[in-house]
């Protein structure tokens, strides 16, 4: 059998029923098990059975934990698995952490991989619940779950990834209409990245970000380094190819532009970046996913980086503390090139050490795929 992208195309046994399945099948034809399901940072259902505070207290009476996760004796919320979730799929890895100052983790991430005739694909979605909306933790989870499912299906079918990204964010938005209730519309940001053999397709709304972290940053970005040209919804996605720098390797750069007041002030030349980030409007987002969001204008862009590096998709709980691409590259690389999970842990620890004011989510995808 001809080897494609270095891997055999022979059949392999299904992990569930051991029947042979095609190497890039999505589902086992015999037992129906999904062969490489997406992984979402929901944590395991239910809660830990014991309150750690009362267990450690010799005077505390014995008591259980309520279905909502509160100790029946002291009332404290017991830690939830979702407070710290690590996912390692080999091709990519990510960590979502509650941080130090929030009572729950309202970030969510979803990771998936797929093997297609054209090569492997890695998918990452990061959503950050808007704290001022009701049930933001439900929003981010619902959005990430809906989007990763659509992106994985599209990757398996070999669909155009830009169009698939737009479909995915629209499905995420529809999922949020379903979770809206009498208490209001849960809302979140959205950032997705689909990494294939030669390119990275990024889609975003809000202020969660995607960064390209180069294996080696050689000096300042060359002149003519293209700024992002976000895709207008009516323009065909294929036109939104961003010409990356013509240097031998693409230097570290921010691939997305926040939908935030601060970013708009900077873009219009009214404020310097430093002043804008220090202003109270720094985190006021101008676009979000939610049943109450006005017209959806997601941004889509495709990149073809030259040279090895790592794609980082993250929530503002990380970039608030360090936002310059070369600085992030300095922290995450070279470790991320071979051990993306360990590198994600470094980033999360850095953010917590710096104060942990917000939930922190970081997903790293070494590029080109499968070289680690």
């Amino acid at each position: 059998m001809t080897a494609i992208d270095g891997r055999s195309t022979e059949d392999v046994p299904c992990p569930n029923c051991r029947q042979l399945v095609g190497v890039w099948d999505g589902f086992c034809e015999a037992c129906g098990t999904e062969l490489a399901p997406p992984v979402v940072s929901s944590g395991t259902p239910g809660h830990v059975p014991q309150c750690p505070v009362c267990t450690a207290d010799p005077d505390a009476p014995a008591g259980g934990v309520s279905p909502e996760g509160y100790c029946e004796v002291c009332g404290r919320k017991v830690p939830s698995d979702r407070d710290h979730v690590e996912v390692d799929l080999g091709l990519l890895a990510g960590i979502s952490d509650r941080g130090l100052r929030h009572s729950r983790n309202e970030d969510a991430m979803a990771l998936a991989t797929s093997r297609t005739p054209d090569g492997q694909v890695a998918i990452a979605v990061v959503c950050d619940g808007v704290s001022t909306s009701p049930r933001p933790d439900e929003a981010s989870l619902a959005a990430a779950q809906a989007a990763v499912r659509e992106l994985l299906t599209a990757a398996r079918l070999g669909d155009d990834l830009g169009e698939a990204s737009l479909a995915a964010v629209r499905l995420a938005s529809a999922a949020l209409r379903d979770v809206a209730g009498p208490d209001g519309a849960p809302a979140c940001t959205y950032a997705s990245a689909v990494v294939s053999q030669g390119s990275i397709t990024v889609c975003w709304i809000g202020d969660s970000r995607a960064y390209w972290l180069a294996a080696s940053d050689e000096g300042p970005p060359p002149a003519g380094h293209a700024a992002i040209e976000p895709d207008a919804p009516t323009r065909p996605v294929t036109e939104a190819r961003v010409a990356m720098a013509s240097a031998a390797t693409t230097p570290s750069s921010l691939l997305t532009r926040d939908d935030s007041l601060a970013a708009e002030l900077v873009a219009s030349g009214l404020l310097s970046e430093e002043d804008a980030m220090a202003s109270p409007q720094a985190h006021v987002i101008t676009q979000w996913l939610g049943a109450d969001s006005p017209d959806l204008n997601p941004h889509v862009a495709r990149f073809e980086p030259a040279g090895p590096g790592v794609l980082l998709v993250c929530s503002d709980g990380l970039w608030n503390y360090r936002s310059e691409p070369p600085d992030l590259a300095g922290m995450a690389l070279p470790k991320a090139l071979t051990s993306p999970l360990d590198a994600a842990a470094v980033l999360v620890k850095f953010a917590n050490d710096a104060g942990g004011r917000d939930n922190i989510t970081a997903v790293l995808v070494p590029f080109p795929l499968g070289t680690q």
Binding site: E68, Y70, C74, G75, S103, P134, P182, G184
Partner: protein, 435 residues
């Protein structure tokens, strides 16, 4: 009959600053059961008693007694087939009117007609000892297996032939056994006296200044009673170990303090009596909890609020609302005041300053009366409580509504003063804002 379900909807600002301890929440409880069956089964039934004052003053004027008879007959007509009922005449002792031998009858066209004939024979003459009337009602209810027990009590004067202790003791006996709505006709009775009965027996108290208004009032009370479906419902409040319930108050449709009526079922759980509920009924409660202080990023359950109904198989817990506390260093979150909590706090204050002001006026303390009733005017305006504002305007001249500058009227009709007193507990409801 199916047991109704209760929903508990909690509205509050869950955010506390670092070290904060006080959590305040409004719990809206709605009973959403299906309407009761037309025929109650004998084992799980309703029972109604109408207690009519037959003291000598009821004949002054004679129309008063006549209207009381007519009102009682009107209420009897509303009693549904299958419901137990009885009529009691009250003087310085209590006497069964129907059934004449005591006990209760099952309502039917025939028994209702018999009862009305017996009521027609009511005559005024004698004293007033309300405690004795309540005791007879208690014994009468005890002759049936009915669980939904309600009484209407009518008086026209003071409880002259009993000591306050005797009345209090009778009230204590009856507490938890049946609910009682009290009405005073005319202006010679004592609001405070009757309010002690209605509060303890989880009912309403009101003035009917003109006897001609009795029939409509009695009919309305009996219709409300017929709509009740579940008896002896308690509001159950669970708190964590180191927390303390500071208060539990009903705040809509009327204000009433339940804090001292707590029955502790365990160190962390207390039940507060709320009487009987009918389908579609909705009441708001204001609950205040003090918790152990927390640090930023911590979350705790400050209280769990549910409803408890006793049933043959044991107490049933229906509905649940959670009161959460989350500590944050975001001042924008922790300093926000929940508008419904603020509103109901104002309504509760409105009721108490009215009662304090009227009491001060009776004692001749004009300065206190003016200050309290002035504050009442401000609160009534701020909360849009127009009914109370109108009642206040009959007792004080309002100089400046915004600052609460008022002057006590020199002449206030007794019935206006008493109407303000009895209706001071009626609140204006606020709904949760749609986000």
């Amino acid at each position: 009959m199916t047991q109704p379900a209760f929903t508990v909807d909690v509205d509050h600002n869950q955010y506390l600053p670092e070290g904060g301890r006080d959590v305040s929440a409004i719990a809206t409880v709605i009973s959403d059961g299906t309407p009761a069956a037309a025929n109650s089964e004998p084992g799980v039934g309703s029972a109604e008693i109408i207690i009519v004052d037959c003291s000598g003053s009821m004949d002054v004027p004679q129309t008063k007694m006549a209207q009381a008879r007519a009102a009682t007959a009107a209420a009897v007509d509303v009693v549904r087939d299958g419901v137990w009922f009885a009529v009691i005449a009250g003087t310085s002792f209590a006497k069964p009117v129907y059934p004449a031998a005591g006990g209760m009858a099952v309502a039917s066209p025939q028994t209702r007609a018999e009862a009305k004939r017996a009521v027609n024979g009511l005559r005024a003459g004698g004293g007033t000892a309300i405690g004795k009337w309540l005791q007879l009602a208690y014994q009468t209810f005890g002759t049936t297996p009915a669980t939904l027990r309600h009484a209407i009590l009518l008086t026209d004067g003071r409880n002259q032939h009993e000591t306050p202790e005797e009345l209090a003791s009778a009230v204590s006996l009856c507490e938890g056994s049946f609910t009682c709505d009290c009405r005073g006709v005319g202006t010679d009775w004592e609001v405070g006296e009757l309010r002690k009965v209605s509060t303890a027996l989880l009912g309403s108290v009101d003035i009917v200044p003109d006897p001609a208004g009795l029939a409509a009032d009695f009919e309305a009370m009996m219709r409300t009673a017929m709509s009740k479906q579940v008896a002896d419902v308690a509001l159950r409040v669970w708190t964590p170990q180191q927390a303390e319930v500071r208060f539990v108050k009903q705040v809509a449709p009327t204000v009433g303090d339940l804090t001292d009526r707590r029955a502790a079922t365990s160190p962390q759980v207390g039940d507060y009596p709320t009487g009987a509920w009918g389908p579609g009924e909705s009441r708001d409660y204001h609950v205040g909890i003090r918790v152990a202080p927390g640090f930023v990023g911590q979350e705790m359950l400050a209280a769990r609020i549910s409803l408890v109904v006793s049933s043959p198989g044991g107490p049933q817990v229906l509905g649940q609302g959670l009161v959460r506390a989350t500590w944050t260093d975001d001042e924008a979150l922790s300093t926000k005041i929940n508008s419904r909590v603020a509103h109901y706090t104002g309504q509760a204050e409105l009721a108490s300053v009215i009662q304090e002001g009227l009491e001060a006026r009776k004692q001749g303390d004009e300065d206190t009366a003016t200050a309290r009733l002035g504050r009442a005017v401000v609160l009534a305006k701020e909360s849009g409580n127009e009914d109370t504002a109108r009642l206040l305007a009959k007792v004080v001249d309002v100089v400046d509504e915004a600052t609460g500058t008022v002057r006590l009227k020199k002449k206030v009709a007794d019935e206006d003063e008493m109407a303000l007193d009895t209706r001071s507990t009626k609140t204006v409801r606020v709904r949760k804002e749609q986000a």
